[in-house]
């Protein structure tokens, strides 16, 4: 294969013939070669038949050769036991391709193929749901531009925001699109990828770049995030704190620090060490404030619950929750520094 960019311009005939082949298979009325299943009606269950009758699966070549082009008049006796509303057979179909040109058979074949594909897809979705909660993940990515901008502003300046509570629907929290205080996974994912790219750019500016370090940075940051979430989950279990926080919420809150890291790294490009530490201190302070305020709503019991209704939360429970909040908020600056201090450029120029 030619990976050069100009190869398409150098061989225009090749490109044109490729285009012509795609349009050929898209047109069902004139297939270039006969389909994969035998000419009986209704067609038997063939797991290798695709929904578009014009294409042939590549591993069916042996099967194709047997009934690809049957003898012209040997196939006509097979049509004698056809259904009553089948098209008249006295026109002498030579290849099954023309048989499919009849709209009735084409419709039935298309619907059958699409039903197979639909049921297969449902099965795959059900099996995947057991291992990765896809429907739960979709909640965290239901964001829009307004939410992202406001959330980024909140991450950098949470001091004037007053209402930190999360509105709930009947079965769960409201989507992040409609509720600014709900956690999402879009910003952490994007910030993580941007962090890896910015690290590559910074190392490239210092002539320290190799392609392997991108993978090293990505897997190292991912390993630290997994480690942090595991420590938080074990702490939640041991201290027996009742909260509504799920694992994906913890993943979201752990991923917000990458925004701060990117901010500090960008400052380090301009102002070297002082810029880096100034950006780091400010973003870690604002992130700690943001996390404490957000988690206080989710972890600490609010003051509106009456005391006699709640014998399980006494003073030691509150102390544990406060320690957990401080731990979560305090580990963020530490990890932010650990993940980025090796990237800052030295102030002295290389000689």
């Amino acid at each position: 294969m030619n990976f050069n960019a100009t190869s398409g311009a150098r061989y225009p005939a090749q490109k044109g013939s490729r285009k012509k082949r795609v349009s050929d298979t898209a047109a069902i009325n004139a297939p270039a070669y006969p389909p994969a299943y035998p000419p009986s009606y209704p067609p038997p269950y063939n797991p290798f038949a695709s929904a578009v009758p014009g294409t042939v699966p590549p591993n069916m070549s042996a099967y194709d050769d047997r009934n690809a082009v049957p003898p012209p008049y040997a196939s006509s006796p097979d049509y004698s036991h056809m259904h009553a509303n089948a098209p008249p057979m006295d026109q002498g179909y030579s290849i099954p391709g023309q048989f499919l040109n009849e709209p009735l058979v084409a419709n039935v074949a298309m619907q059958y193929g699409q039903a197979l594909v639909g049921s297969g897809r449902q099965l795959v979705d059900r099996e995947l749901e057991k291992y990765i909660p896809v429907s739960r993940l979709k909640y965290y990515f239901a964001v829009d531009t307004r939410y992202v901008l406001k959330k980024l502003g909140l991450l950098f300046f949470p001091f004037v925001h007053s209402d930190w509570s999360v509105k709930y629907e009947q079965d769960g929290p409201v989507q992040p699109r409609y509720e600014i205080n709900a956690p999402d996974l879009y910003i952490p994912t994007m910030a993580y990828v941007t962090y890896v790219l910015v690290a590559g750019v910074i190392l490239g500016m210092q002539d320290r770049f190799t392609p392997e370090i991108l993978g090293i940075q990505a897997s190292s940051a991912l390993a630290w995030t997994i480690f942090e979430i595991a420590v938080e989950l074990i702490t939640l279990y041991i201290t027996n704190i009742q909260t509504n926080l799920k694992t994906l919420d913890l993943l979201a809150f752990g991923g917000y620090k990458y925004v701060g890291i990117i901010f500090a790294l960008l400052l380090s490009i301009l102002f070297h060490k002082t810029g880096y530490y100034a950006g780091l201190i400010y973003s870690s302070f604002s992130l700690a404030f943001f996390l404490i305020r957000t988690l206080k709503v989710q972890v600490l019991p609010d003051g509106s619950s009456p005391h006699h209704n709640d014998p399980y939360t006494h003073s030691s429970g509150n102390k544990r929750r406060m320690y957990l909040l401080l731990f979560v908020a305090g580990i963020q600056p530490l990890l932010m520094w650990w993940l980025s201090f090796h990237l800052i450029s030295p102030p002295t120029p290389k000689s």
């Binding site: 991912l222 390993a223 480690f227 041991i238 201290t239 027996n240 399980y312 006494h314 030691s316 090796h342």
Partner: protein
């Protein structure tokens, strides 16, 4: 600096192994951390010590069950 996914896996494996081979009678009873000595009221919150011991005991039980084949390399 580079904490790779492989080293994380090694850490998890070694910690699980350490929890599995920790013998209750020989070590924990000496310190007073054995599992059947807890006096815990029903309505109270379980203490940190009892939760840790429950965690250790449940990890040991799961690791020694038939599901250990999944973890073996």
């Amino acid at each position: 600096m580079a904490l790779t996914l492989w080293s994380l896996y090694e850490v998890v494996l070694l910690c699980l192994n350490a929890v599995c081979i920790l013998h209750e009678e020989r070590f924990l009873a000496k310190i007073g951390w054995s599992s059947n000595q807890n006096i815990q009221g029903f309505g109270e919150q379980p203490s940190v010590k009892s939760q840790v011991l429950n965690l250790v005991r449940s990890i040991r039980t799961v690791m020694r069950s038939k599901y250990v084949n999944i973890v073996c390399l």
